[in-house]
Structure formats: structure tokens, C-alpha cells
């Protein structure tokens, strides 16, 4: 009689199991079962000769590090092999049977240990195996012993495994979370990865596994420490650069500014330059892209209150200006022909292009769609998969710019974009990011190219991938953004720079004029609190200041909360904000309006509109508040304060303040009486409508787009 061991990775259907056991027993087998089994569903008619029932979810992730990385099949095997009964049955079985795909690996492993057993997948094959064994004498004791010697294949496999994964084997024992979280553990591993005279390959392998341990222990900074320490000891510059890059990116991924960003960027750029000189452009592009992504990560510039780029633009970008590969990418290619003047015998063909974000295009599109002198097309590069694939393709773009010849990507971009360029007289690209880089990969022929840069783009890597020599007009939303951009991109200071314009965002402000109730005088308001850069804590401080004089003042926060997961800075900021607000909300001094589509309604009760941001392009929420008749109080945005252009040059004198104290003073002064408050509000509203409302701004756009174009 044969012994059959059934292995289940997932609980078998009762009817299926019943039939399987019955058929095998009928064929003359003793049937044992191990694995995922719902014992409550076990059919009454199933008479197993042995059962080791494990939980039904053994194929799913378990709270163990190894299991989290494992495939479902590995998890099943890992769980089953812990059972002494199962190991014994596996050694003695004549036929090992996997009942489902997740059980195959366990049977495969068991079969490596039991050389005399048949190993089958499925019940019918198992029945055939049982029938096939009939008449075969059972193995003697010696044969059984021989059957259970590990196979040569297994010995070979294990030996390779041990050699290749000595650190991995060690890691499970020596990198447990408590150790990795302790200073002693970190010191131990730092010493290990710095051990002299270890080949790069082995050192790298150990470091990566230890880093994984740190990751598992939620210690990204420890992870970076290990990788950085290892990098210092690596002999190959490429390995060193990549390791430093990995260290920095792990920290950024965890939302932390890297401890040694400069070394990583410098090392990557050095190798990129070397590859570029050697004509290995794909590798150069890859390395340059890594360096750019590290240097311009949003954790450093967007999701915190300061930015090294804004603090020292020239210093921060110096490594890129000194890099051959980066300067090659930035080198102007120019255009063979100048942009043609607008046609006079037909409407101007205007192509408006963006990638998904059309927040600031709606009024512009609507205006030109009904304009008799314009034939408009709108191109959302994110809406078409082929266009999207050539748009957000930084590495390929870089490779194209580094290469003397056209790359397959360049040809593809040409194929995708050329029909649009051929059609259009003028292309208006909104946002100076990937779409702008894409449009300037190609020589635009005689088509005029206009690109609008809002604000955050200056803190991103994209301006270094745009060929400004192929842009005819560069539009900014404010002078301070223009100044920062020209500092960062030297080409824009030269004689061949595109024409530069400052045009306010297109906003329909007339809808914001709503009569405010008297008690709105004491209502401070902020629109938009979803980013650290909005710095609502500054507004809270202003509120505290004014409430010292009069506790009728309250603060209304309009907009969704910030995402705590984008960076450690965001998380900490949000924690602090919530703590601060808790007390104030309890007494009704602060209310959160939450996200809304109806901003005019939210602003109806706001008497004082605040702009507390550390940086802005042009603060639309503030402008809308001013248009509504709220008194504007604008912080002198620290990113730009003291520079030739700043919030102070964008807004009328008096609106901008240097500190919460000054803000409080302005508020107390302008809201001292209803009369003064309404007067200040009306004045602000008149200014906003006179300067920034769409009928005014529209004329600026017409001049830009149409010039003197008349059909």
C-alpha cells in the first residue's frame, strides 16, 4: 500500500477533496494531508489517514520579513516545513501531491529530500502514480535511507545558496529589528561594511542586505548611513556613485533631506561626464537623470519651508553648470528658421498644449475658441498614450540631447509631434516641465513657440532639459519667478534669450464680489493649506497676535489638509499644525472649511485675506480674496524677500508685511471700524479687478498671441 501526502496551499473545495481522497484510497493508498485546510468544511465522508491542518491563509503575506518578500509558494513551503509531522510524512511518502499551484513548490522541495517518491501535480496524475506503483515492493530500510539523502542537485543548490547568500543568511539572525534600531547594531554593521580588503562585489552585497535590514527596522537614515559608508570604501567609481545615489534616494524616499546629497550628485555627474565623453550616451543619460532627480527632489524644495535652491541658486546649480553632460544637454540647438509672422489671410492656428493640468487654461481656451481670428486646437499630452510616453521620458530626452545623431526616441517624438507643429502657427505650452522639454526637442520649423512658467517649475529639473533657443516667448506669472529662472538658466541672460513677458494668471474675479456681513470684519481667511509652503502656522501666529487685542478675531482655513506622507517635513509640520489648531478650534477661534469648489461662497464671510506662504508665483487665493472685498495681508514671501522682485513688487504697497506682528498691526488698523475695514476692502477689490480680472488680462494675452494679427 502506498502512502500519499497531499499538500494544499489554499483550502481545497470540500467536494474536490472528498473525491480526491476517495479515488486515491480506492486505488489502494493511505492518504495524508498537510496545508491550508478549513477543518470546519472538511466533509464528513473524508477519512484521512493523517492530517496536519494549517490556517487557510498560509499563502498570504505573514508578518515576517522573509515572508513579506516571498512568493505565495515560498510562504506555503516555509510554513509547512516548520511542522515536524509534515517533514516526517514528506520523508516517508510514496507519492507527494500538490493540490493547487501554491503547493507545487512545497512538493518540489519535499521531492528533493525524498528521492524515491513520485511528485505529482493534480489528483488524477496522483492516482496514476499510485496505480503505477502497485506491485512494486516497498523500499527496504537501506533504500529508504538512500531516498532521504539529499539529491546532488540539492546539495549543489544549497552550496551555491550558502556561498552567494552568506550575508543574507546572517542577516535574518543578526539584523533583527531591535539590533538595527540600536546604536550598537548600527556601529556593528558600519564596522562590517568598512572592513578593509573586501572585494567590491561582496561589500556591495553585504551593504545592500544590511540596508534592507535597516529599511525593515524603519531606519532610512541608518540605511543611508550604511550605504554611504560602504560607498567610501568602494574602489570602482561607478559602484561608488551608484551607491551614494542609492543612499540619497532612500532618504528622499523616506522624506528626509539627504545627509550627503552633494557627494552623490557630484559622483553621478562625474561618471555621467565620463560616459558621455566615451560616447555611451544611454548610460550618461541614465546617470545624469539620476543626479537631476536627486538634486531637484520635491522633498528638498517643495515639501518644506526652505529650499537650498532658493537660498543659493547659483551655488546649488553649480555642479550642473560644471558638468559636461549637463551643459551639453542645456546647449542651445537653435532653430533653422525663425518663427513665421502670423498669417494675414486666415485665422491664426493656435495649439494649446499641456499634460493633464489645465487649471489655468480654461478661460484662455474659452476665449480663443470663440475668437474669430483664431482657430484653436487643444492637446492634452497625457490623454494619448503614445504622446504621453514621449512626454514623460526624461532619460530618453536626455539621451537625445546628449547624442549627435537622432535616437529612436527622437524619431518617435518627431513622428508624434510633427503633425501638430505643422498644423499650428503658434504653440502655447503651459507649464515649463516635460511638455516644454518635448516641444523643444524638435526644431519647430516656422511655428512660434510660447511657453508659460508658473512657479514650481523653477524648483524642478525640467528647465535644465528645455532648449530655450527654440522658444520665442517665455511667459512668467510674476517678476520674482522670472528673476529666479534667469538666475538659474544662464542662457536666459544672454542676447539670444527668448522674449520674456510677465502676464497675470487668467482669473474670473467678477464672481467674487459678494456683499460681506458686518461680522466678517473679524474673520481672517486663508485659501489653500495643502502644502507646507503655504505655512498656515504663520497665519495662526497672526491670529494669536490679533486675539490678544480682541478675541472676536477668528481664522477660516479653506482647502484640504496637506499630505503627511510626502516628506518628513510635511508630517512634522502637520503634526505641529494640528496641535496648534486643536486648542484654537476648541474655542471656535479657527474653523476648517475643507476642500471646496465654491471658493466665492467660502470667501463671503472673510474680512481679511491672508497670504502666509513662504513662496508663491502669484497667489490666486489672495487675489480672489482681495477681489471679494477682503483686506489683503501678504507675508513678504521669504523665498524672495529682499530681492529686486518679490511680493512687495507684485502687490500694492501696504499689503505686504514682514512679520506676524506687522500683519497683526495692519489687521487691527484696517479693521478698527467697519468703515475703515470696508474702505480698505473696497480699495483692494478695485485694485484686483482693475489689474487681474480676465477682461484686463485677456488684452495682454491677445497682444501676446495675436500681436497685430488681423484677418
Amino acid at each position: 500500500m502506498s502512502d500519499v501526502l497531499l499538500v494544499a496551499g489554499v483550502p481545497p473545495q470540500p467536494g474536490f477533496l472528498s473525491s480526491a481522497v476517495h479515488r486515491l484510497q480506492k486505488a489502494g493508498a493511505r492518504v495524508h494531508l498537510v496545508g491550508a485546510v478549513d477543518t470546519e468544511d472538511l466533509p464528513a465522508d473524508v477519512r484521512l489517514d493523517g492530517l496536519c491542518a494549517l490556517p487557510g491563509d498560509i499563502a498570504k503575506a505573514l508578518p515576517a520579513r522573509a515572508a513579506a518578500r516571498a512568493t505565495p509558494a515560498e510562504r506555503v513551503w516555509t510554513r509547512i516545513r516548520r511542522e515536524r509531522w509534515a517533514r516526517e510524512q514528506a520523508r516517508n511518502a510514496d507519492v507527494l501531491v500538490a493540490l493547487d499551484p501554491h503547493a507545487i513548490y512545497a512538493v518540489w522541495r519535499m521531492a528533493q529530500r525524498n528521492l524515491g517518491a513520485d511528485a505529482r501535480y493534480g489528483v488524477q496524475p496522483a492516482v496514476q502514480a499510485v496505480i503505477g506503483r502497485q506491485g512494486t515492493p516497498p523500499p527496504g530500510a537501506l533504500q529508504r535511507l538512500a531516498n532521504n539523502l539529499p539529491s546532488r542537485r540539492m546539495v549543489r543548490r544549497n552550496l551555491t545558496h550558502i556561498i552567494n547568500s552568506a550575508p543574507r543568511a546572517a542577516i535574518d539572525a543578526v539584523t533583527a529589528r531591535p539590533i538595527m534600531r540600536s546604536k550598537a547594531g548600527t556601529k556593528l554593521w558600519l564596522a562590517a561594511v568598512r572592513t578593509p580588503k573586501i572585494p567590491d562585489r561582496l561589500r556591495t552585497k553585504v551593504a545592500r542586505q544590511v540596508a534592507k535590514g535597516m529599511d525593515w527596522a524603519d531606519r532610512p537614515e541608518g540605511e543611508a548611513l550604511i550605504l554611504t559608508a560602504t560607498a567610501e570604501k568602494l574602489r570602482t567609481p561607478v559602484s561608488r556613485a551608484r551607491m551614494l545615489g542609492d543612499a540619497a534616494s532612500r532618504e528622499l524616499k523616506a522624506g528626509i533631506p539627504p545627509q550627503d546629497l552633494n557627494s552623490a550628485v557630484d559622483a553621478l555627474l562625474a561618471i555621467a561626464d565620463e560616459r558621455h565623453r566615451a560616447g555611451k550616451q544611454p548610460a550618461a543619460a541614465n546617470l545624469l537623470n539620476r543626479a537631476m532627480k536627486l538634486a531637484f527632489d520635491r522633498v528638498l524644495h517643495i515639501d518644506r519651508l526652505t529650499s537650498p535652491l532658493a537660498e543659493d541658486p547659483e551655488g546649488f546649480t553649480a555642479p550642473f553648470r560644471n558638468s559636461l553632460a549637463a551643459t551639453t544637454v542645456a546647449a542651445p540647438r537653435g532653430r533653422k528658421q525663425p518663427a513665421a509672422p502670423p498669417p494675414t489671410d486666415r485665422p491664426l492656428r493656435l495649439l494649446i498644449a499641456t499634460s493633464a493640468n489645465d487649471n489655468f487654461l480654461k478661460l484662455i481656451r474659452a476665449h480663443y475658441e470663440s475668437h474669430p481670428q483664431v482657430e484653436i486646437r487643444y492637446l492634452d499630452l497625457a490623454a494619448d498614450s503614445k504622446l504621453k510616453s514621449v512626454t514623460w521620458a526624461a532619460t530618453q530626452m536626455l539621451e537625445q540631447r546628449l547624442s549627435a545623431e537622432e535616437t529612436p526616441y527622437g524619431a518617435n517624438a518627431e513622428e508624434q509631434l510633427r503633425p501638430h507643429l505643422d498644423w499650428a502657427d503658434t504653440v502655447f505650452v503651459d507649464w515649463c516641465v516635460a511638455p516644454a522639454a518635448l516641444f523643444t526637442i524638435l526644431d519647430p520649423g516656422t511655428t512660434r513657440i510660447i511657453v508659460r512658467l508658473h512657479s514650481y517649475e523653477t524648483l524642478s529639473r525640467w528647465p535644465y532639459m528645455v532648449d530655450f533657443s527654440r522658444i520665442d516667448d517665455l511667459v512668467f506669472v510674476a517678476d520674482h519667478i522670472k528673476d529666479l529662472t534667469t538666475t538659474l538658466v544662464p542662457y536666459l541672460q544672454g542676447p539670444d534669450a527668448p522674449r520674456m513677458h510677465v502676464l497675470d494668471n487668467a482669473m474670473d474675479l467678477s464672481g467674487f464680489q459678494i456683499d460681506k456681513p458686518s461680522d466678517a470684519r473679524f474673520q481672517l481667511g486663508m485659501v489653500g493649506i495643502s502644502q507646507v509652503a503655504k505655512d498656515p502656522l504663520w497665519a495662526v501666529e497672526v491670529l494669536r497676535q490679533v486675539r490678544r487685542h480682541d478675541d472676536r478675531y477668528q481664522l477660516l482655513l479653506v482647502g484640504g489638509d496637506m499630505n503627511p506622507n510626502v516628506s518628513v517635513a510635511s508630517r512634522k509640520y502637520l503634526d505641529t499644525l494640528n496641535r496648534e489648531l486643536e486648542e484654537l478650534e476648541a474655542v471656535g477661534a479657527v474653523r476648517r472649511f475643507g476642500p471646496t469648489e465654491d471658493v466665492p461662497k467660502a470667501l463671503a464671510d472673510v474680512g481679511v485675506i491672508l497670504s502666509s506662504s513662504v513662496r508663491e508665483g502669484c497667489h490666486c487665493g489672495l487675489m480672489e480674496g482681495a477681489a471679494s472685498g477682503a483686506v489683503p495681508v501678504v507675508r513678504d514671501w521669504p523665498f524672495f524677500a529682499g530681492r529686486p522682485s518679490s511680493a512687495r513688487t507684485l502687490y500694492p504697497q501696504g499689503w505686504v508685511v514682514g512679520s506676524p506682528e506687522e500683519a497683526a498691526e495692519r489687521i487691527l488698523q484696517t479693521t478698527a471700524t467697519e468703515e475703515t475695514w470696508r474702505a480698505a476692502g473696497n480699495e483692494a477689490s478695485a485694485h484686483a479687478l482693475g489689474e487681474w480680472d480676465w477682461p484686463v488680462v485677456q488684452q495682454h494675452f491677445d497682444r501676446l498671441i495675436l500681436g497685430n494679427h488681423v484677418v
Binding site: 473545495q13 474536490f16 505529482r120 493534480g122
Partner: protein, 498 residues
Amino acid sequence: MSTAIKKAEYTPAMPTSRDLSSSSATGRGRRDGRPHLIYLAIGFPPAAKSCAYRMRETANQFRRIGWDVTVVTIASTSWERDSGVDYSLLEQVDPGITVLELPLAREDLETDIRKFSEERALRPAKWVTNLRKREKKVFPEPVFGGWRETIENAVLGLHRQHPADLLLASCVPYVNLAAAWRLWETHGVPYAVDFRDGWSIDVVNGGVAFTEESEAGVWERRILDDCQALWVVNDPIAEHYRDRYPHIAERVHVVRNGYDEDSVATVQPRRPDPEKGLVFGYLGTVNYNARQLGAVITAWRKARELEPLMRNARLEIRGHIGAGAAREANGLTELISTAAADGVSFGGPVLKAEVAETYASWDALVLILIGGRYVTSGKVYEYMATGLPIVSVHEVDHDATRVLDGHPLWTGACGLDEERLIDSFRSAARMTAEATEAERAGVRAHAAPFTRETLMRRAVEQLAEGVVRSGADSTGVAPPPPRPRMTDDSRQAGEVRA
């Protein structure tokens, strides 16, 4: 006829086409003046597949009219991991037929885990996905594409040993077409195709399976352009091909499946005994889905409750279920087992030799079929020939409906409409008691023209005649067939292959 068949020996190092350039399909290699057919029939007995009967009859008919026949199929053992083997099917194979069994097997159906790589054991689904990709790179057919080279070399080797006058490729698998094309391309051996169900048409769901521009589309057009004849099993499929390739419309022939007389020869109606329990039966491959089977079981259960004649009735399902690891152990067997209390059971496959006996043990038949107007199935003819009442569980617009139309002991097609299925079961129960012998005889007479032998005899004679006619000249020596358009098409074929 006997079970002893002649086996040709497979030699892995089959000659290349260049080695064969001196031989041609002009009849010069004929033995005793007999023309030679190479018949690519993967599924030939002893494979326990529904196509085995058609293949067996086709080969037998060629033998009957004096042809040498070499059947190319895969090793019998390979079917054991597929739908199984039935050696009793060999009993009716003409002993003069030579069979070449190629050492091919579906890798994906391997159930011996010792033969698995560690990667396959760890990630079986991914392994299969990668296998399919590899197969499709060789030929645009995911499961069998990798067999191309072996079949091509086998055919060329056979032709060298015994020059062929005709190659007939029965598909599935479609990779056979590559070998047919290769022999035509290199030696000008004419070929015919028995598509049975058709390639570019999705017979189950209706509609087109692939476009003419696809790789499979290019292959199909190329093959059909030069084929001697294309056989399909019913008119709707023939219409599809005539519409898609009007220039070959005259070469498209409907060759219905029919039934084997010996399968029903001994069926003598039982004396229905409702007290002991009427027995309804299904015989065939269980390839329908759980929804369809679920509908049958639900209707069956309710009919048993409502119909006094069915109070003790049983429903026996016989045939092959699943393949590989899932053989006789899939969701359908599970579903059947849940209805055991309602008299539903699964009895496994039936040997060909026991088919008639099985029908004789039943009072009524349940015809469960997938698909619609493009599907006929073979069993509908056999069912009809038993003279037993038939409950249909298939789409109303199904080719079986056309075949059964006018059958007096048929309850009609109603799709999966539960109420109507209940009525169908109840009607069939009543028919078992009420049907007269005259009615049963009428039914059998209605089925008579559909014997497989009759249908295949006609088709084979027609095909052979065409080949002989086109190959014979006034001297009595067979001239070369129309030359293949070698250069350009060969290049294209090479491109597709690449």
C-alpha cells in the same frame, strides 16, 4: 480491423529540405502506383479526444480508396497528461495505415513535479505565461507554436522516404499549417486543410478571432490561397471563410462530423421505469462552463421536485473533464459533487467500445453544448441516432438546433432559461414513457445520412479525385502540381517565422 497499427520510426535528425530536392510530388515515389497521403492528425487514436473519430474515419477512407496513408500525431503517452487515451479507438483503425508518433507533449500540462525547474515550481503561472510567449514567437499559436520545427522536419523526412501526393492538415493544432506550407514551398506537394471549427473565427463567442493583418491572419491567408480544399464542420463556418476569402469559395466544403454507427448499433430502448428511476445521460467532453452546468443542475433539481416521473431520476455525466493537473478535478467536478443528493453523478470517461452500451443504459439524453451558430459538435449526430429523447442545453441560435430541427423526441433549444429547461426535462421524462417505436425509428432514420462513414467517404473521394485529376496528364504519369509561388511567399513566410 485490429489494434495492431504500423508505426513509423521518428528520427530526430530529419533531413533538411535541401536533402530532398531530388524528390518531388509527381508520383514517381509511389509504391505499387498507390498515391500517398501524409495526414497531420494530432489527436488521432488512441487520443481520447472528440476529433479522434473524424481523423480515424478520414484515414480509413483514404485507405479504402487505395491510398497509402501516413498519419503524423504525437506520442500516445503525451495524451495521458492531456485528455487521456482510449486504446479501444485503435480497433477501428485500418491496419494498413502507418502512424508516426512525434516525441511532442504539451509542456504546460506536465504533472511530474520532478521535471519542473525551481522557477516553475515557485511561479507556475508566470512560467506558463512565459512559455506561451515563447511558443508564439515560433508560430502564432500560444499552446503549440513550439512544435513547429519538429513537425516540419518530420513531414520533410516522411516525404523523403515516401514521396507524398497530398498532405492533409487537420487543425487544431494550427502549427500543422507551417509544415504543410513547408512541404508545398520546398517540394510543391499539394495540401488540403481540415479546419473543423475554423481558425479566424471564434466559434464559441462568435465574431472574428484575429484580423487579416495579424500574424495569424497572414498565415491563414497564405495557407488558404494555395490549398486544394478547406473542410469545415458546418455551413456558418463555411460562410465565414467564403466571405473572408471569396477567391477560394469553391474550395470550401462542409464536412459534417456525423456519428459512428457502431456507437449506437446496439442501443435498444430500455423499458423506462420511473419507480426505479429514469436515467438521463450526458456523454462527451465536459468543456462547458460552470454557469451552464449550474443552470442544468438547478433546472434538474426543480424538475425532479415538480415532475412525478422524475422523482427518482438520475443524471449521469460521462466523459473527460479537464486536462493536466485539473483532469477530473476542477470546478465542474466540484459542482457535480454538490448535486449528488439530487441524483447527479460523474462517472468518468467511457471507452469507445462501451459507448453503445452506455447509451443503452439511459432513458433520455442531455445535450449540453457551448457556443452558438458556429458550433455543431459531433455528439449531436450520435445523440440523434440513439433514438432517445433529447434535452437541449445550448443557445437557440446554435448549429445543433438546425441539425435537430424536426426531431420528434427533441424538447427544443431554450438557452439557459430556467423555466424552459425545467419544462424540457419534464417533457423528456414524459417522452420516455410515451414515445412509440415508430417515432424512435423515424428519429434513427433522420440520423441515417449522418453516419460518419457516409460523410467522410464523400469528402475524401472528392478531395482525392481533385488531387488525382490535377496531377494526371494524358500519359498517365502524374505531372507536377501547380508550382508554389516560391520566392516572395517563401521570404514572407520566413519573416513571419522570425
